[in-house]
Amino acid sequence: MADSAAAASLKSKPPQGEAKVWLTGMGLAVGIVMVAVLLGLILVRGTNVFWPKRVTEITLREGSPSGSGVKLGEIMVRQDNVTTGVEEWLVHFGNKSKADPSTSYRYVASGDVLSTRQPQDVMVAERMEYGDAIFYPVRLTTRADGVIEATGPKFRPALEAALKQAESVRQKLYHLERKDIGRISKQLVRLEKEIRIDPSRETANRLEIERLNAAYEKLAEQARGLRAELEKDILTVRLADGEEREQPTGDLIHVYEPNKLGFGGRLALAFKQFFAFLTEDPREANTEGGIFPAIFGTFVMTILMSIVVTPLGVIAAIYLREYARQGTFVRIVRISVNNLAGVPSIVFGVFGLGFFVYTIGHQVDNWFFSSSLPTPTFGTGGIMWASLTLALLTLPVVIVATEEALGAVPRGVREASLACGASKWQTIQRVVLPASAPGILTGVILAMARGAGEVAPLMLVGVVKLAPSLPLDFEPPFIHADRKFMHLGFHIYDVGFQSPDAEAAKPMVFATTLLLIVLVVVMNLTAIIIRNKLRKKYASGTF
């Protein structure tokens, strides 16, 4: 009995010294909730972009501020106006045109809507210019098959065939303009340059220039022919208010009938659009099309940055930790390195611009590219300078992590190596560095995450809104370290805040953000997998 009483008194005591556990738990919970909300918002809004919406025919009250009559549009959001409290819908009407290039998104007060319906035969087309078109198809006029009415069964196949045809013509045009004409322009520039350097070659080069100009004219003629071909097949469409428009099929990328699609069809379409977003070049001031150059630019820049920062940081840390005499001076250096991590990134951008671009880049141009001056080659922002600037920015992270990792290698292992007759450098190289590799990689992971997400310094040293060519391609010398590039972080800023059509850009911002996060996560995961492999290999011995 006495025993059970003792046990009871043990149980009834409140836990001593454990009362504040909830506080630490709450700190974690707040952090997790905030991150989860942010990621959830980006995930939902970012993926929502690709989900095909149903098209609604809206009949508006006569004289309403958002227009009157019948309209076709995708209802994006239904919400209460923040100031008036009246329910309003954000509707994507599309159908921008040369005559009316204003925004295709409008707010419609729900009170102004007399009726809505979802017509089955409505069609949405993604166009090369002016965004989406939303319409009822009427007839297709092609050179091959003549006039085909939209009601007939041959209409859809004929339209798809016309779109395919247009796609191949656009491909041809792209190759012609970018590859063939580009090559001739480059040769022309080279010949002109040679004349400037060596006037004795003038006559020979002039002849060559004339020949190239003739070839250029021929190609330009071909290009004009292809352009005209794109205008030949016409899709006649009827807008909701009865107006008929003639739409050349050469301008259409793909069409779909959103109200006829089932779940599977919409899913397939969403994936198709997502894939296009990943792989295509941007169009129309970056508000349409894909973001492939930005993904690629971010990736290449981050890799280049890691290649530069890792050896630099590791070597610096080895000296600091292993060779430098530990004293006041080394302590000052260490504190300075730590504080470097707190310097605003724009300061690094300014430094990169002043030091790398204007000073070093200018000298490089003077020494190696003097023939193309005054057009700068390296004397202007480019992916190499951007990577170097970011390497500088992330250097403290790598140094600090490497120092920690080196310090964590047990003394016993070092002594064992020295006792085997290894020199200090051999010990570092064969024993200490392999054992600290996981820790060093942690630093590189942090540096990559920080570097990939940086925007401000990049704006000064080489990121542009639209880069015509990638920093890596199949054109010799394959790596173009001088080229300007696109970056996902800057793309978010550009699309979100510099775009003429804010509502059209908003979904793109979320989608781009999502991709930036995914890219950083993928690169980090790769590094983490490598680190875990190393960690398993170099796990410290336990008894």
């Binding site: 292992v413 002594e415 006792a419 200090k424 064969r430 011995g541």
Partner: protein, 273 residues
């Protein structure tokens, strides 16, 4: 690493040993003093260690025995703020002679530590580490050294089928024997052992002690131990240190049965430790 300043007192004659074996002194410690900063860790120690015998250094913690051992391959050079006086001669050559290269010294004097410290490499690479750093990479030679060293450390039969597996897969006793194999791989003349069995269970300890008996045919062994029984079991000569001083140094049997100094007697009978 700059050669340590040496004010070796070469004029000092070796202190008269307690018995005549010492005429063949192999390691000759001459009036050696050592300081960690202000701490006088070894005070005027002179002792002669004969070749191909096991010499045990015993004494309570902080008595300087490990410090002396670590001076025999100049491992203490790595510590900041240390200083020494006197000299240690190895086969007639001063360790602190400016012409002595620490790396070649350490090739002649192998060391086994208290905590086994294999490298994060395969068993094979662990054994041949000293050959690798010396630039000896011939496969046939390496294979032969691995087999000889692991047999010498009585580990060959246990690991011969998994030489390319990580050394961290071994048990504690096996790891320590691997460290011994690594230390004897490039055939040093002297093997310093700093409490090699401190972290091992009795069975593993017994194996290492048997091993020491085998190894002394080939190597001169100096072993630091806290375990008095170990000293009696496997050493030929024993030196007792107390507070940085060498109190008594003689044949093991003499030290443990008829010690001359009262401190020695007190220590070996467990009165203080």
């Amino acid at each position: 690493m700059p050669p340590a300043l040496s004010n070796s007192s070469t004029e000092a004659t070796p202190a008269a040993g307690p018995d005549d074996v010492l005429n063949s002194a192999y390691i000759d410690v001459r009036q050696f003093n050592f300081w960690y900063g202000a701490k006088h860790a070894i005070q005027n120690v002179s002792m002669q260690i004969p070749e191909k015998q096991v010499t045990a250094l015993i004494g309570p913690s902080g008595c300087g025995k490990s410090t002396l051992l670590r001076n025999m391959n100049r491992m203490n050079d790595l510590i900041d703020g240390v200083r020494h006086e006197g000299d240690i001669l190895l086969d007639g050559t001063s360790l602190y002679d400016p012409s002595v290269e620490v790396i070649s010294l350490r090739k002649r004097v192998g060391m086994v530590f208290q905590k086994s410290n294999p490298f994060a490499k395969s068993i094979y690479e662990n054994v041949i580490f000293s050959l690798r750093v010396a630039g000896r990479n011939k496969k046939a030679e390496l294979d032969e050294v691995v087999e000889r060293s692991l047999k010498g450390a009585a580990l060959w039969d246990e690991v011969k089928d998994r030489l390319n597996e990580s050394a961290y897969g071994l048990s504690g006793g096996q790891m320590q024997r691997l460290c011994i194999a690594r230390a004897i791989a490039n055939r040093p003349q002297i093997l310093l052992m700093d409490e090699p069995c401190a972290a091992l269970d009795p069975i593993a300890t017994l194996k290492i002690e048997d091993l020491i008996q085998d190894l002394k045919k080939e190597f001169t062994i100096v072993i630091v131990t806290h375990n008095m029984h170990q000293a009696t079991r496997c050493s030929d000569r024993t030196a007792f240190f107390y507070l940085g001083e060498l109190i008594e140094y003689d044949q093991t049997g003499v030290i443990f049965n008829t010690p001359r100094e009262s401190k020695t007697e007190a220590y070996i009978s467990g009165l203080f430790s």
